[in-house]
């Protein structure tokens, strides 16, 4: 018996040329997409460093603030190569290496929450909100070393007054920029990111609380928190949050990164410099000042209550047990 087999495929089954060409185009498109993604990944390296804000530039019209400390400045090379910025690696010299191509332009800071006039500020606006002051502050790290830095900026209260916090606002929450593409080491930092910090409203409004845009006469280097950061000189360094993108006025005490870490084993919300309250693993009674030279045999100096800024800030903590609220 002859079995007539129907042909499996008829002319109607032939893939139309358009589709077939489409596949080719699709493949080409795929390649192009891949190339674009690669190019995007390399973007920070391809675009000139100046246009993305990677290289510090001189700041003009900076006036000297009268309250500066007369302590010897820490050389800029030390302030730019010895950083805690875990988004760019946990070793002290990591941020200087890994933050080179961090894109800080364009940049906006969103100020929101319990305010009458929430608003986004561009970097250009921030640079022009008030006359820039050079303020030489002592900066005490929780790790018992300290530096003396000529920061540039103005009191944070300037920006606060523009957005008009309502009566409900009792605290201010700050947030650092976080992008795992630009900060691939962030996932290994061991802390939750984005980095968040907070201050009580009166602390944030204290004239010493600095909204900082530069140091040593120039805009901030990336590893030091470009393009805009906070500097809170009477608190341990980690309270001085870097690369700010969000400021939120809130009713309740906001969570902070190092409070959340390890179930609050590191430090409390206030984290005021206090020689009488030790870190769980080391004494805070003295500090190593990073100055010019190797300083191998330089004696440690005693740490001062509120890092020596007691006259300006101590009254905010009247009646508070600073051993409990550390």
């Amino acid at each position: 018996m002859l079995i007539r087999r129907q042909p499996d495929l008829t002319y109607a089954d032939v893939t139309p040329k358009g589709f077939y060409m489409g596949r080719r185009n699709f493949l080409l498109g795929l390649l192009a997409t891949g190339a674009a993604v690669e190019a995007y990944k390399k973007l920070p390296g391809l675009v000139s460093a100046a246009s993305i804000g990677s290289v510090p530039v001189k700041l003009d019209g900076v006036v000297k603030w009268p309250g500066s400390t007369t302590d010897t400045l820490t050389p800029i090379e030390k302030v730019t190569t010895y950083n805690n910025y875990y988004e760019f690696g946990t070793d002290k010299d990591d941020p200087a290496k890994n933050a080179k191509n961090f894109v800080t332009s364009p940049w906006t800071v969103s100020v929101e929450g319990e305010v009458a006039k929430p608003r986004k500020f561009t970097m250009d606006e921030i640079l022009k909100l008030a006359p820039l002051e050079e303020r030489i502050y002592r900066h005490r790290c929780v790790e018992a070393w300290s530096i003396v830095v000529p920061w540039i900026g103005y009191s944070f209260s300037t920006i606060a007054k523009l957005v008009q916090p309502t009566e409900k606002a009792k605290f201010v929450a700050f947030e650092t920029y976080y992008d795992s593409r630009q900060m691939p080491l962030g996932s290994q930092a061991g802390i939750q990111l984005p980095y968040v910090e907070g201050l009580r409203l009166d602390e944030a409004m204290n004239p010493l609380a600095l909204l900082c845009v530069g140091m040593y006469g120039e805009t901030l280097p990336n590893q030091d928190g470009a393009p805009v950061r906070m500097v809170i000189p009477w608190k341990y360094g980690f309270k001085s949050i870097k690369s700010l993108v969000k400021i939120r006025f809130v009713k309740g005490q906001p969570p902070t990164t190092w409070n959340m870490y390890g179930g609050g084993t590191e430090y409390g919300f206030y984290s005021n410099v206090n020689p009488n309250v030790d870190h769980p693993r080391w004494s805070q009674a003295s500090e190593r000042r990073l100055g010019p030279g190797l300083g191998l045999f330089t004696k440690k100096i005693p740490t001062l209550m509120f890092n020596g800024y007691g006259d300006q800030v101590a009254s905010m903590y009247n009646g508070m047990d600073l051993r409990k609220n550390f």
Partner: protein
């Protein structure tokens, strides 16, 4: 070929020189003002890192020589162990001299109060008798078995060293965990061979299992 390299006195000299490279680099960088912004912290961390590395290398000798059938490796063990002691001495000296400025009361306060220093200090103290009794004379005086028992203290130091490192870092525990893993593997190997040895041993306890200990094999 490998055998002649491993038994050559020149190899020992080369290994000795190699063990001095970390301290040489440190001195070189010191001369060139290149010890980071916080030189004391940098020296402390560098000497501490090399201490745990040398402890791990020393502990790896026995497994390596058994697994690779290279008994000659034993020639290097004492030297490597003493280099671990050399770097821990530098580590301790950096702390007590450059960091504490020889204020012994400060030092004791830290040892008592801070658990990472307590365990680190304990690990250091436990190495002292091992360094002292590392000579052929001491092996003879103590007798191989007792000497070996004493020198098992290095297991305790290795574990304390890892804990010291783990408690010291703030949040990024990858490095201490890495050394912890190495120490765990090396100790687990010893435990496993001990278990196997116990099982396969003839019931009579009179059979001598190991060759007598000498300065070279110890």
């Amino acid at each position: 070929m490998l055998n002649s390299v491993l038994t050559s006195k020149w190899t020992k000299l080369v290994v000795f020189a190699a063990c001095l490279v970390p301290i040489a680099v440190l001195v070189w960088r010191g001369i060139h003002q290149d010890l980071t912004a916080d030189p004391i912290a940098f020296i402390t961390h560098t000497t501490g890192d090399w201490t745990i590395r040398f402890i791990v290398i020393t502990l790896a000798i026995t497994p390596l020589r058994k697994i690779l059938h290279l008994p000659q490796l034993i020639r290097f063990r004492r030297m490597l162990g003493l280099f671990a002691f050399f770097y821990v001495c530098l580590h301790f000296t950096t702390w007590i001299w450059l960091d504490k400025g020889f204020v012994w009361s400060e030092m004791w306060k830290d040892v008592e109060k801070r658990r990472f220093i307590t365990v680190g200090f304990t690990g250091f103290v436990l190495l002292i008798p091992l360094a002292i009794t590392s000579t052929a004379g001491w092996i003879r005086r103590l007798g191989g078995k007792r000497w070996q028992m004493l020198h098992r203290l290095v297991y305790v130091t290795a574990v304390l060293g890892v804990i010291h490192y783990y408690w010291l870092v703030k949040s990024d525990v990858r490095k201490p965990l890495f050394y912890g893993l190495l120490v765990a593997i090396l100790l687990a190997w010893r435990f496993a061979t001990w278990l196997i040895g116990r099982r396969s041993r003839p019931t009579a306890g009179s059979v001598r299992r190991e060759a007598p200990v000498t300065a070279e094999t110890a």
